[in-house]
């Protein structure tokens, strides 16, 4: 099934490693029942980087084992606050 991945700030580099693109957004075909954790593994985001990361599905926070549905957008955001 097709889903969208978006990444911001320093997390964009993990998308760039997967695709030759200048965009921070890609579409990928994944197996049914894939979870957030599977996407993290696909992008090869190291555990250390995850400490600084908020992950959203369609704008909302979920646990790592949350299943992704067709057409969902998984968003990787760097920790932010203040300013």
């Amino acid at each position: 099934m097709l889903i969208k991945i978006k990444a911001y700030g320093p997390l964009k580099k993990y998308i760039l490693k997967k695709r030759n693109t200048s965009s921070n957004e890609i579409k990928i075909d994944i197996d049914k029942d894939s979870t957030i954790e599977d996407i993290v593994n696909y992008l090869e985001i190291p555990e250390k980087e995850l400490r600084f990361t908020t992950i959203l599905i369609n704008g909302m926070r979920f646990e790592k084992n949350k299943k992704i549905l067709e057409g969902d957008t998984v968003i990787f955001l760097p920790l932010m606050g203040g300013g």
Binding site: R51, R61, P78, L79, M80, G81
Partner: protein, 630 residues
């Protein structure tokens, strides 16, 4: 004790005289710096119920305990006064170079008393003070003033804190600019400066601050410049700065849009931090001895619009307050709005929020074209924004009403207008929606100087057990995560501690962006910096108690000014769901749970059910000397 001067400068503007008060080690251990020192003098010398613009108000410029120490990210200092915006305790920090220069000039704080008969500015150099006539600079914009004072004093190295026309005209949210780019931005302290006929304070020191162990300070500074800058938080702050938050908040459905009517802005990408850096952005700038260099600088040179880079560039707050909040999708206009606010010294958050309020009133027919000097105050109408900023700063036409701030303006307009004001204690909300981070909401409601986004770390730093915040602040007794949208008892405990820790950083002169959990430098390194600077061992317990002492002093100041627990509230809108975006029909904070959380926080603080510090707590903190009847 090293790292400080032990000297407080008291200025009497009325008769152009000054005195110097010596303070001992115990004073600094007890009140630390910044708001601690300011509140000490405010309780001693401000009588109850004075008007913020009265000569009886004090205006206090106070460095932190570490300000000026050449360690990483400790450039900040605090200005305090009774606030003309909240009518309670007013406080605002600024980075840059002014605070460190004040320390080098031989003082830890300046207490301004009274009112000058005619406009003047102060020149403080190496322990001495000159009162200089300001006739030729009164009425002028900040850039020009900066040039004239530097030329007049014949020294390019002086650092200047000053007000523009917005401060002179006592806009209730006027601010103070330092070297044109660093702001004591909130609570209207620039208006207090204007009410005192004080245009600027120029400082210059030629002596080095005496440190107990300079080598250790340098060692930590070197670590921060190398290893510290490899931290993703520092790296992103350097490359994109706070504007990186635009897309994050929008993706989460919580970017304040159209005066909080919406949480998702379709044009967010046009005003994002990334877009700004790629289009009008220049190399970032920084503050004294800080390796992060997060301050934006922008330049626009087009036929119809020019933005001067010497006034810096918009932070996230400004981009949202002048952009999505007004539905303006043109970064050039936002950058120009930022520049104008900085020329006139008015706070960009309160300015954007008050304009947004006026736009919604116009939309709802509560303000007519006749009342707005013929301006069409429609959301998205970028032309009127720049005109309104000038009118506000000069208190001309509709600007005179808006210069009062959104709450006072709504009261003046009457009827339904109050529904479109989003404030706590009279201060307009910053650009973070508490529905997606309730800890920020608790801090908005409880902040002693009105709604503010820098009263604690934000919830997302603690969303998992292995989040950076949870991992790095164990020394504060934080061992596990709390979900951002939760209003549980755990959330109350977490934010009680974060509140005190954040206040402590302010009182030390430390920037939140340098230290954990928002930056790279650890609590252990912070403690090492304190002992290396002062040469004495001050424990984290003592420091946190110092932060609590200042918090209770601010609380008592507000209670004496007439505040009650009724003022510890969030605007109603946050107890309703979002109207659009990914969180449409979701997100409302449970009002009853939120109220309970506030009551629990009172209890944890040793305050009674009405939020009044109990006599036992006052005694514990050694504040019996404050004249306060319960």
């Amino acid at each position: 004790m090293d790292g400080i001067n032990g000297k407080i400068l008291k200025i009497h503007l009325g008769n152009k005289s000054y005195e110097i008060e010596d303070k001992d080690e115990n004073f600094y251990r007890k009140y630390i710096g910044g708001r601690g020192i300011a509140l000490y003098y405010m309780h001693k010398e401000i009588s109850d119920n004075i008007d913020a613009f009265s000569p009886k108000n004090l205006l206090i410029f106070a460095a932190g305990l570490l300000t000026g120490v050449p360690g990483p990210a400790i450039p900040r200092y605090t200005v305090c006064a009774k606030s003309p915006l909240t009518d309670g305790f007013g406080e605002s920090e600024a980075g840059g170079y002014w605070g460190p220069e004040l320390k080098r000039a031989g003082f830890d704080a300046i207490i301004i008393k009274g009112k000058a008969e005619k406009p003047l500015y102060l020149f403080v150099k190496d322990g001495k003070v000159e009162f200089k006539e300001a006739k030729n600079i009164w009425g002028k914009e900040t850039g020009e003033v900066e040039d004239i004072i530097k030329e007049e004093l014949g020294d390019n190295k002086i650092k200047i804190a000053q007000i523009g026309p917005g401060g002179e005209n006592m806009v209730r949210y006027a601010n103070i600019t330092n070297e044109l780019r660093h702001y004591n931005g909130r609570t209207g302290l620039g208006g207090v400066m204007g009410s005192k006929n004080l245009k600027a304070i120029a400082v210059r020191g030629t002596k080095k601050l005496k440190l107990a162990n300079r080598d250790k300070v340098v060692e930590i500074a070197r670590w921060a410049a190398k290893e510290g800058m490899e931290n993703p938080l520092a790296d992103l702050l350097h490359k994109i700065g706070t504007p990186a938050t635009v897309m994050g908040n929008n993706e989460a459905g919580a970017l304040p849009t159209r005066n909080w009517q919406k949480g998702y802005y379709e044009d967010a990408e046009k005003i994002s931090g990334e877009t700004m850096q790629e289009t009008i952005g220049q190399s970032p700038e920084g503050c004294f001895a800080c390796p992060v260099r997060c301050k934006r600088k922008v330049k626009v040179e087009e036929k119809d619009i020019k933005v001067d880079p010497r006034y810096g560039g918009p932070e996230y707050e400004t981009i949202a307050a002048m952009g999505s909040l007004l539905e303006i999708n043109d970064l050039r206009i936002i950058a120009k709005a930022n520049e104008l606010c900085n020329r006139y010294t008015i706070d960009t958050i309160s300015t954007g929020m008050t304009i947004a309020f006026a736009m919604e009133c116009y939309e709802k027919g509560l303000l007519t074209k006749e009342e707005t000097d013929g301006l069409e105050l429609k959301f998205g109408n970028s032309k009127v924004v720049l005109s309104l900023i000038k009118k506000i700063a000069k208190r001309k036409g509709i600007g005179d009403l808006l210069a009062e701030g959104s709450l006072r303006a709504a009261k003046e307009l009457g009827g339904q207008a109050k529904r479109y004001v989003y404030q706590v204690k009279g201060q307009e909300l910053p650009m973070h929606d508490p529905r997606v981070k309730t800890g920020v909401g608790l801090q908005y409601a409880l902040a002693d100087y009105g709604a503010d986004h820098m009263k604690a770390a934000h919830d997302s730093f603690y969303e998992k057990d292995d989040s950076y915040g949870t991992l790095t602040t164990k020394a504060l007794g934080i061992y596990s995560h709390v979900k951002p949208e939760s209003t549980s008892e755990d959330k109350v405990r977490l934010f009680k501690v974060l509140d005190l820790y954040w206040s402590l950083l302010d009182m030390l002169g430390a920037c939140h962006f340098g230290f954990v959990p928002r930056g790279a430098v650890s609590i252990e390194q912070l403690m090492q910096l304190i002992s290396a600077s002062t040469g004495v061992y001050i424990s984290l317990y003592e420091l946190m108690q110092g932060a609590e002492r200042a918090t209770d002093m601010a609380r008592i100041f507000n209670i004496k000014a007439g505040f009650t627990s009724q003022d510890d509230q969030l605007p109603e809108i946050f107890f309703t769901h979002f109207n659009n975006g990914p969180l449409k029909d979701k997100g409302a904070i449970n009002k009853e749970k939120f109220k309970k959380a506030i009551k629990l926080r009172y209890e944890m603080m040793g305050w009674n059910e009405s939020g009044v510090p109990r006599r036992s707590k006052i005694t514990e903190l050694g504040l019996d000397w404050i004249n306060f009847e319960q």
